[in-house]
């Protein structure tokens, strides 16, 4: 199929450059309600995404047009589809850039679980058995639902400059809800985790922790309103630094969506720990660990923020040329430095500290850097002891709240985040009682 597409692209004189990305995906999925099967699914798909480039002139200026087509496995009219894509590309006018031409070394990354490759359905039922075995151990909590996804993807990238690379990636997702309580008062804890290697996920520990959170929530109350020290742990950490990833990108710079300036402090008058942020595309079990990026270029490790200073912008192929800066490739897993304090020290000298493990939703705004969320599960640490909290909200912004940020010594890898296991904000706005 790829040869047929290449043939159609190469014989069309109006095609300036092209890229083909083939993704063959096989996924098995198991859905449970309480402890019975609701549905079993088997998914097999192949897609061919073709980018077609056309170079043309408008008023004497060279312009590059890009058009994208998705071809099916048994596509009958490849020539006509390519022709149509070229015609569309002739209409779009962009400052020209050259697609990736290769020449860099590709490292083989560890991003394949043999268990997922060999027996996905068997793996799902192995987890189902482990789930059933845990049921008695989590009382008084009980199960609500569980969803399991085991997916394998074979990816091939080819372009008109001779780059041709393949990669295999796997993922395993668990998405479950545990309940605790009775008819009068019943609480839940939802947990979603995605990993590359199912064997690196401590499933039993996750379930036990969720059962504890659900049961603790039965005695939860609202946090106080005001400005308090707040420690974020677990789920919120996965997205906390996402505005910094966007703001340090060549795209944000070119599109005038970033206020950050190279070689300047990312946070003015910071009093807490200074942040170092790296792109890590090699760590085992990182969701962004991969051999190559969307441009077919090798994924690299690099530092964008060092000790609070914006050192290097990251640029994919297009924006490296637009910004006239180094090409780094896409951003990998977000690696943040650890700090000097242990998590135990976060409560020292404080009357009250709030620990938050999950929000209803936590999506910091990439452009403005503001963030906030309703508290799903957390604890208040005070002289009176440890009290579960639920409800109310936290709000802040990267620019202000990061002035007093403290990073724990302890580290964690979660999704595409690797860094401090806990992050303390000395002052954060809480809305509660």
């Amino acid at each position: 199929m790829i040869n047929k597409i290449k043939e159609a692209l190469n014989k069309n004189k109006d095609v300036y450059a092209w890229e083909i990305k083939t993704v063959e995906s096989k996924s098995n999925q198991l859905f449970l309600i309480k402890n019975y099967i609701e549905q079993l699914r088997d998914v097999s798909t192949v897609s061919y995404t073709v980018k077609v480039y056309n170079l043309h002139e408008i008023n004497g200026e060279r312009q590059l047009g890009l058009s994208l087509i998705t071809l099916q496995h048994n596509e009958k009219n490849i020539d006509a589809r390519v022709e149509a894509a070229v015609e569309i590309a002739k209409y779009s006018n962009n400052i020209p850039w050259e697609i990736y031409a290769g020449g860099d070394y590709y490292y083989d990354k560890s991003s394949v679980s043999d268990k997922i490759v060999k027996d996905r359905r068997g793996l799902l039922f192995e987890f189902f058995d482990r789930y059933k075995a845990m049921e008695a151990q989590i009382k008084p909590a009980r199960y609500s639902s569980l969803e399991l996804f085991a997916t394998m993807r074979d990816i091939e990238y080819v372009n008109s400059k001779g780059v041709n690379e393949t990669d295999k990636r796997t993922s395993f997702e668990i998405d479950y809800v545990v309940l605790s309580g009775n008819d009068a008062k019943d609480m839940e804890c939802h947990n979603y985790r995605k990993v590359v290697f199912p064997e690196m996920l401590d499933f039993e520990a996750e379930i036990k922790k969720s059962a504890k959170y659900a049961t603790d929530s039965l005695n939860a109350r609202l946090p106080k309103s005001g400005i308090y020290p707040v420690v974020l742990m677990e789920e919120p950490l996965e997205d906390l630094f996402s505005p910094l990833v966007f703001q340090t990108s060549g795209r944000a710079n070119f599109q005038k969506q970033s206020m950050l300036k190279l070689n300047e402090e990312i946070i003015e008058a910071a009093e807490g720990d200074k942040i170092t942020m790296k792109s890590n595309s090699s760590v085992k079990n990182g969701l962004k660990t991969a051999k190559f990026d969307e441009d077919g270029a090798p994924m690299q490790d690099f530092t964008v923020i060092e000790n609070g200073l914006f050192k290097k912008r990251w640029n994919d192929v297009r924006y490296a040329q637009y910004n006239k800066e180094d090409h780094t490739g896409s951003f990998g897993n977000v690696e943040i430095n650890s700090g000097n304090m242990s998590m135990d020290e976060f409560t020292e000298g404080e009357d009250v500290v709030y620990y938050i493990m999950s929000f209803s939703s936590f999506m910091p705004d990439p452009i403005s850097g503001t963030f906030g969320g309703e508290i799903r599960h957390g604890y208040e640490f005070s002289k009176n002891g440890i009290t579960p909290i639920k409800g109310g909200s936290v709000s802040g912004s990267i620019g202000e709240s990061f002035k007093n940020i403290y990073l724990s010594k302890e580290k964690v890898l979660r999704g595409e985040y690797m860094g401090p296991k806990a992050v303390k904000f000395k002052k954060l706005n809480l809305t509660g009682e």
């Binding site: 999925q29 859905f31 309480k34 019975y36 099967i37 549905q39 079993l40 699914r41 088997d42 998914v43 097999s44 798909t45 192949v46 047009g65 890009l66 058009s67 994208l68 998705t70 099916q72 496995h73 048994n74 894509a85 569309i88 590309a89 209409y91 779009s92 006018n93 962009n94 400052i95 609500s144 998405d175 008819d183 019943d186 609480m187 839940e188 939802h190 979603y192 309103s225 005001g226 599109q255 005038k256 969506q257 929000f359 209803s360 939703s361 705004d365 403005s368 503001t370 906030g372 969320g373 309703e374 799903r376 639920k390 109310g392 909200s393 709000s395 620019g399 706005n429 809480l430 809305t431």
Partner: protein
């Protein structure tokens, strides 16, 4: 070959395979999906003009007496279809039937969205010219505008449902138009957005001038926006924010797959007062032109309108096939999938509060000290405990019955849903439905929905 001709071409093969499956299983169906479209996106000096990534594939679904088994695949040729069915017949066990599968018998029906001005009657260069000139026009309005993102998206969503009793197709056309304006005063960067998402044709291409003006003005106001002081406020919410409340408050909580999972407090409150008597709320896939509408859902159920709350009383919920079957509940057209690759769940369509009798000005005049919530953002459900979280992009201060021009951003609404809904003291006589958004189940399974309502007045906690 067009999409309808394609599916009619393979219909005899699918029908034959359904008959084979029905010899072993209690129920089976096939859903075919082919979504294509055109994107014209202008973003400052950059342009993206292209087909948008298409979706093409199908799913066989069978009920074996205990649970459903589904095989999704993208290779829709005869040989592969037969081999998938062979695999289902050999691999999937059969059990004694625990639940009867309810299905409406419709026979053969083909549905298509009416386009007053067909999208294919307009030349591509004319569409592009409109987007380019609009971008230049907006960008020239103020030197603080740093970038304008202008989105034009044509969506052609074709689905076919084939079972022993039914052969249904729907060919839905939707046009999405969005402008996002990025502004900076050198100290910070802010943005605002608005637009239209309607089923139909090119008649929906123009974003009204007053919406563009307001989007630009509000973006500028955001540069000097204040942080709101935490506390309880009297609120007047715009139809957009009211829609978000409808969606998050009692939308998700009445998706009845959540009843099976014991995740919805609403299950114990059917027939009880949970909101002010001024509140009536619907979910309806039947609303003409709205982006969450369709003719049948992804499990072959013809479109329905469900009254969820009637004058403050919780009436009934929305079902997918599995929930209707296991709960022995009325089937509604809410069985929806992100695509053929994903499972269907009970999902909302167009969710909105019904209008009342008050005018917007009357509502603002009745507030001594409060906030007019103008622009929504995102929200999250908590059906188990009736918590609510909504992020609003823009709110304006109300003092002594008048808007002061003082802007707050962002604003987070949190609280207990029945408290909020019972505090509704005025319901506007207007009704607007906005369909720009997508809705997730938890943090995934995105489907197109709309939400809306009239202006509403209530009390809640802001932070």
């Amino acid at each position: 070959m067009n999409k309808l001709e394609f599916i009619k071409g393979i219909y005899p093969i699918i029908k034959e395979q359904i008959e084979r499956l029905n010899k072993k299983f209690y129920y089976s169906y096939f859903l075919f999906e082919n979504e294509t479209g055109l994107d014209v996106i202008k973003q400052g000096r950059q342009e993206h003009i292209s087909e948008h990534p298409s979706v093409f594939g199908g799913v066989f679904s069978v009920y074996n007496g205990k649970y459903f088994v589904e095989y999704s695949f993208s290779n829709i040729d005869k040989e592969n279809i037969v081999s998938i069915v062979d695999k289902i017949l050999s691999d999937v066990p059969i059990f004694n039937m625990k639940h009867r599968v309810p299905e409406e018998v419709l026979g053969e029906k083909h549905f298509k969205t009416e386009q007053k001005i067909p999208l294919d009657s307009i030349k591509l260069e004319d569409k592009i010219a409109k987007i380019r000139s609009q971008n230049d026009y907006i960008a020239g309005k103020d030197e603080r505008i740093k970038n304008v993102i202008n989105v034009y998206k044509e969506n052609f969503i074709f689905k076919a449902f084939i079972s022993a009793n039914n052969f249904l197709t729907q060919d839905i056309t939707r046009l999405d138009r969005v402008i996002q304006i990025i502004v900076s005063d050198g100290k910070s960067v802010k943005y605002n957005y608005d637009g239209i998402s309607k089923q139909g044709g090119y008649e929906h291409v123009d974003i009204p001038e007053e919406i563009i003006e307001k989007t630009v003005k509000d973006a500028m106001k955001l540069l000097s926006a204040n942080k709101i002081e935490s506390g309880f406020y009297d609120i007047v919410a715009s139809p957009e924010v009211a829609g978000l409340i409808a969606h998050e408050a009692f939308g998700h909580g009445m998706e009845m797959d959540m009843f099976l999972k014991e995740r919805a407090m609403g299950a114990s409150y059917i027939g009880k007062q949970i909101a002010s008597p001024l509140v009536t709320m619907y979910d309806s896939a039947l609303e003409p032109g709205e982006s969450g509408s369709f003719y049948f859902d992804d499990e072959g159920m013809p479109a329905t309108k469900t009254k969820i709350i009637d004058k403050g009383i919780l009436v009934k919920g929305m079902t997918d096939l599995n929930a209707a079957m296991r709960l022995n509940a009325e089937r509604t057209s809410n069985g929806r999938r992100e695509s053929y690759k994903r499972k269907s769940y009970a999902r909302m369509t167009n969710t909105f509060f019904a209008p009342g009798e008050s005018g917007k000005d009357e509502m603002i005049a009745s507030v001594d000290n409060g906030i007019y919530l103008i622009k929504g953002g995102s929200g999250m459900e908590d059906p188990k405990n009736w918590g609510i979280q909504i992020e609003c992009l823009i709110g304006e201060e109300i003092k002594n019955g008048a808007l002061t021009g003082k802007i707050y951003s962002p604003i987070f609404i949190t609280g207990y849903v029945p408290d909020l809904l019972k505090s509704i003291s005025m319901v506007g006589n207007d009704l607007e439905i906005s369909g720009l958004g997508y809705c997730g189940k938890g943090h995934k399974e995105w489907v197109k929905v709309s939400s809306g309502g009239p202006h509403i007045k209530f009390k809640t906690r802001l932070g």
